[in-house]
Amino acid sequence: MKILVPVKRVLDYNVKPRVKADGTGVDLANVKMSMNPFDEIAVEEAIRLKEKGVATEVIVVSIGEPKSQDTLRTALAMGADRAILITAEGEVEPLGVAKLLKAVADEEQPGLVILGKQAIDDDSNQTGQMLAALTGWGQGTFASKVEVAGDTVIVTREVDGGSETVSLKAPAIVTTDLRLNEPRYASLPNIMKAKSKPLANKTPADYGVDVAKRLTTLKVSEPPVRSAGIKVADVDELVAKLKALGVAA
């Protein structure tokens, strides 16, 4: 089976985000960008399924600015077979992404689409679910384990208070949680070879998808700065303060 893995170029997880002075968004000028960590886990899982002989081909797709090509190259260096870059200016909302992925899935007919459960920039946690709705395929979200036997996909899901195991019939959608695997470092020889792997350049228009924004961002602001604590003399004073704050009865 083919596996389709969408990957997103995001602010690197080690970078402290800074909000633009005008409050319209996060400042991305001259900051380090890299592959969304959950997407890395998705790529790793797809490659492992290929190594096990379950998958025949791993296709990675990214939607965003031209530099997303670097993110695709990273995935190719890790072991994906080919890439599709859908260049779109500005922010594409989860629904737009899901519609594009639906179009790619129609064309590629993958047995499995593995996505990160969310991107660390907007934390939407919507794309996988929306894609499942658009395609009508089964979904196993927040996966900590994925097993494929024939056209059955067994997904262990991380849910509140434990885990849940679901059985899906391929084609299916899986979104990855942190514990699913530990992504490999692309080897240096493979990084060099990634350049010669096929990368197709597309636009949303090629798929007939309208990615115009449906939502308007009103304001982006920094989290409140932690204010200084106070010292109390004894337990009685502590209890009194807590009562005054309404956190103790």
């Binding site: 890299s34 670097d70 190259r73 260096a77 470092y185 080897s187 240096l188 990084i191 060099m192 990634a194």
Partner: protein, 380 residues
């Protein structure tokens, strides 16, 4: 081969992550146990680190000198012993073969050196032969189809892990022209390895004696022509000096970053010590020297990539960079103050580690001689 910038950036990025996420957390453990975890060495193999300088035709990356240096800068940002695991395969252990090997010799060994299946080691120094390296005593005597090697090599890096040695042995009369180089598999009869020496620093990187007792080395394992061994060794060291200089720059940058991080946190006289001018002077001196060494080594590397003879320049940069990192490490201990002397902070470990850079692959004094002789010969 020069890589396109995107590919090279991706390469550097991967190495930076590997150093930060995998190597740095293990520094104290490796320093304590004098051993790199086997799983870590396997990860280095998987990453392709053993093949950095092996030509692409033989399964390596075939990096240019400038590219290799930029990678050395990154590996300088952790304990030097980490790099030593694959350092001999990148440098002195493999380059004799790369530069002077026959196509058959290269075909036989290089692909497995590139993958790290074979660890290589370079054996020049002897109990009585250090800086005067043309005085090699280890004897090679022709006996039919083999050369029989007898003698002792000393302080041989990675000897206990190596399966292939490049050995300098005396095949002729006295002096440099009586020395030949041999590729010696570690499993030949009569070859034994001493126990790892206890060293001042760089724990995790081992040096041992290698003893040869009539070791029969096939004649086809001679590297270069008979009597060319010293030339082979000098060419190998030429390249190695640039790589070590790159590591010195990386370690200096690491120590400066650590010093600054400490200096902005540590408060004395009511403010961070980074705001005291005498501390600032040390930071400024270290930064300035590190920047100078970085520019210097990249300049020499570019000349080497362009095919120029850089023997003098490589000696000069090794001299400067190794002395520079010694001063930077000394200042780092000073900025950390009492904490700099305490093992848990790791600064004293680097201070001990960097001391070696001024000694191995040619002492500072030997580099001075090389620089002086060549400068005088050139007339300025």
């Amino acid at each position: 081969m020069a890589l396109d910038p995107e590919t090279f950036d991706a390469l550097i990025e991967t190495i930076r992550r590997f150093v930060t996420e995998r190597l740095r957390p293990l520094e104290a453990q490796v320093g304590e146990e004098d051993e790199l975890p086997a799983a870590l060495i396997e990860e280095m193999r998987q990453l392709g680190l053993f093949g950095l300088s092996i030509p692409e035709d033989y399964g390596g990356l075939g990096l240019s000198m400038v590219e290799e240096l930029k990678i050395a800068f990154e590996f300088g940002r952790t304990s030097p012993a980490m790099r030593s695991a694959f350092g001999t395969n990148v440098g002195i252990g493999s380059q004799g073969l790369v530069m002077s090997g026959t196509p058959e010799q290269k075909e036989k060994w290089l692909p497995r050196i590139a993958t790290g299946e074979i660890i290589t080691s370079f054996a020049l120094t002897e109990p009585d032969v250090g800086s005067d390296s043309a005085a090699v005593k280890l004897r090679a005597v022709r006996d039919g189809n083999v050369w029989k090697l007898s003698g002792t090599k000393r302080y041989i890096t990675n000897a206990d892990k190596a399966s292939l040695f490049t050995v300098m042995a005396r095949t002729g009369g006295a002096g440099a022209h009586g020395v030949s180089a041999f590729l010696v598999p570690a499993d030949l009869p009569g070859l034994t390895i001493g126990i790892p020496e206890r060293k001042m620093g760089q724990q995790g990187a081992h040096v041992c004696d290698v003893n040869f007792d009539d070791v029969p080395v096939p004649a086809e394992n001679m590297l270069g022509a008979e009597g060319d061994g010293f030339k082979v060794a000098m060419r190998v060291l030429d390249r190695g000096r640039l790589h070590i200089s790159g590591v010195c720059v990386g370690v200096a940058e690491r120590l400066i970053a650590d010093s600054v991080a400490y200096a902005v946190e540590r408060k004395q006289f009511g403010k961070p010590i980074a705001e005291h001018q005498l501390i600032q002077a040390m930071i400024a001196d270290s930064k300035t020297e590190a920047l100078a060494a970085r520019a210097f080594v990249l300049d020499v590397a570019a000349k080497k990539d362009a095919g120029e003879n850089t023997t003098m320049e490589a000696a000069a940069v090794k001299l400067f960079a190794s002395e520079m990192v010694g001063r930077v490490a000394d200042r780092a201990v000073q900025i950390f103050g009492g904490a700099g002397y305490i093992a848990d902070y790791g600064i004293e470990r680097f201070y001990r580690d960097v001391r070696l850079f001024r000694i191995y692959e040619g002492t500072t004094q030997i580099q001075q001689l090389v620089v002086a002789r060549e400068t005088i010969r050139r007339g300025g």
